[in-house]
Symmetry: C2
Subunit: 329 residues, 2 copies
């Protein structure tokens, strides 16, 4: 930058202004400086700028696992909005481990990110303390936690799960099994289970621990779950797969075994992946505002960072979901 300043015969301050606040510089200077910038291909050093102004244009995002297609829509929403404001996204994965998450948070704070997005809502006390102390705005967006760190943009896993279970109950299914991903360090799964249980109670159905299962991700897991539950408790007439593509795996398994869906067993899923609409029978599911969550998260974060909108601190935005009834229930 000094180089540019010398060649243009101005001070570095003027160069800085041309690049950051062009309005405060005369037309003539602007042209002169920009010409030199182009000539020598000068690239401003953001590190230096950020250090000096103690601001940064980086947002940190921590997801449990990068290869989960569920997050990608949210990431896209985030990324698109942030890009428009010149912000950059730093992504890391915690592997569903709060300690790992804490470490990543520490690293991000060291990098002086100006905002943080956490998918998980389970954190170590130290992590919460570090964030509080740093004073930067945070958005949690995998669930609506009881005690938010700061802001929340999400749908309610509990309510969504409750809604689908009630729907199954109203359709007349009486023995509704429930499958989710492992709930250790995964409050999304926990809340889905609670929603299911609350709905059963409301429907006057007895909970039966034999038909509540946890499993890993993937089609194979879904297949295994439906086989297992049908074998152990044949009177099951519906299976609510509250996670990932479990329902599709279950559906394929039913087809393989010749169990009519929904005649013998109804199937419901939790996230509206493209696939569910295209299989036959098409699968009832919940449409969740994955992209919107990313978008809103970015917006609210930017408000806090750029406009200092302190009144937004602690905001909880509960985005709506939609129940989609299809052939499988």
């Amino acid at each position: 930058m000094r180089d540019v300043a010398v060649r243009a015969g101005v001070s570095t301050m003027t160069v800085s202004r041309v690049l950051n606040e062009p309005g405060k510089v005369s037309e003539e200077m602007r042209e002169r400086v920009l010409r030199v910038v182009r000539e020598i291909g000068y690239l401003p050093n953001h590190l230096a700028g950020n250090l000096s102004s103690s601001r940064s244009t980086t947002i940190g995002l921590i997801v449990p696992s990068i290869d989960n297609s569920i997050y990608t829509q949210t990431v896209k929403g985030l990324s698109e909005v942030l890009k428009r404001s010149g912000f950059q996204l730093m992504i890391a994965e915690s592997g569903y481990d709060p300690n790992e998450e804490e470490e990543l948070i520490t690293i991000f704070l060291s990098q002086r990110v100006s905002g943080l997005v956490l998918h998980s809502t389970e954190h170590t006390p130290q992590a919460a303390e570090k964030i509080r102390k740093s004073g930067i705005p945070v958005v949690e967006n995998g669930n609506i936690p009881e005690e938010p760190l700061d802001m929340v943009v999400s749908f309610s896993n509990h309510d969504a799960s409750y809604a689908m279970t009630m729907h199954l109950g109203r359709l007349g299914y009486r023995k509704i099994a429930f499958a989710s991903l492992y709930s250790v360090h995964n409050d999304r799964s926990k809340d889905r289970l609670k929603g299911y249980q609350a709905a059963l109670k409301q429907l006057g159905l007895d909970p039966d621990p034999r038909i509540v299962l946890e499993t890993e991700r993937g089609l194979a897991a879904g297949a295994e779950v439906v086989a297992r539950v049908m074998q152990s408790v044949p009177e099951v007439d519906a299976l609510f797969c509250a996670g990932d593509v479990l329902a599709v795996g279950a559906l394929f398994e039913c087809q393989k075994r010749g169990w009519p869906v929904p005649g013998r067993i109804a199937l419901a899923s939790f996230d509206d992946v493209d696939l569910l609409r295209h299989v036959s029978p098409s699968v009832s599911t919940l449409r969740l505002p994955r992209y919107d969550i990313g978008e809103r998260t970015a917006r609210i974060l930017l408000s806090r960072i750029m406009d200092g909108a302190e009144h937004l601190r602690g905001s909880v935005i509960d985005l709506k979901f939609e129940l989609i009834q299809r052939e499988s229930t």
Copy 2:
């Protein structure tokens, strides 16, 4: 940091050493300093550190589209290796637009990333020039380009496509249709087409432009493609869907229309997504080393950055793919 130094009664230099080169500091100092660090919860400022040492621990990654599940495995491989060495990943999406890519490259260079990973292998001349000028190591990993910018870690789209087409030919299919994603600004698609054409020639089959199609991503697109090609050229006996989940969409459509697969039409796909193994009939495809690409990319980049392994400049690593024959062909 000054604060820590004062409280511990040492110089800032000693604090810096304790944190970065603990070996060069006496046991006693180390303890004294670390105790204070813990006491006041001191967080080093990486921005300042990076600026001062003109090194950074950030790698920039540019993918065409974040929500494409194909990349996520590569990103995971990258992320896991980089994390172990304390590097951070900055991700941005170019939307298949070289100009957008150039802009992102500029931003990343401004952020002084110490390495760059590009999925696309089509760049503007200015982008190439900026990268060259910056001197940072770059890995391209979506394809093996004719003129690499620097290093390449990928499989060959051409060879993979050629292999599958040859396979279909050897199985006796004579009228092999080809569907890919739009090839504008997408040299992966272009190379797949070339591989297909090369194989046809080798097999002594006449190319027929009516059965070479380009479409968008998604199951619906796959369904539409198979319907279209069967209608316009009924003698087609195989369809090679060289992209995304097109083959699954096509399969569902065949089932819907009652076309036996592979009896009436054989189907082949390009990427071994979980789904292809679980549908019925299971779909023949190419297993591509998506995760490995990420891992190797990270490794080679780290060698260049940390060990200054200049002899690796310009390396081209062609990772192997595997053809998986299943029921659909």
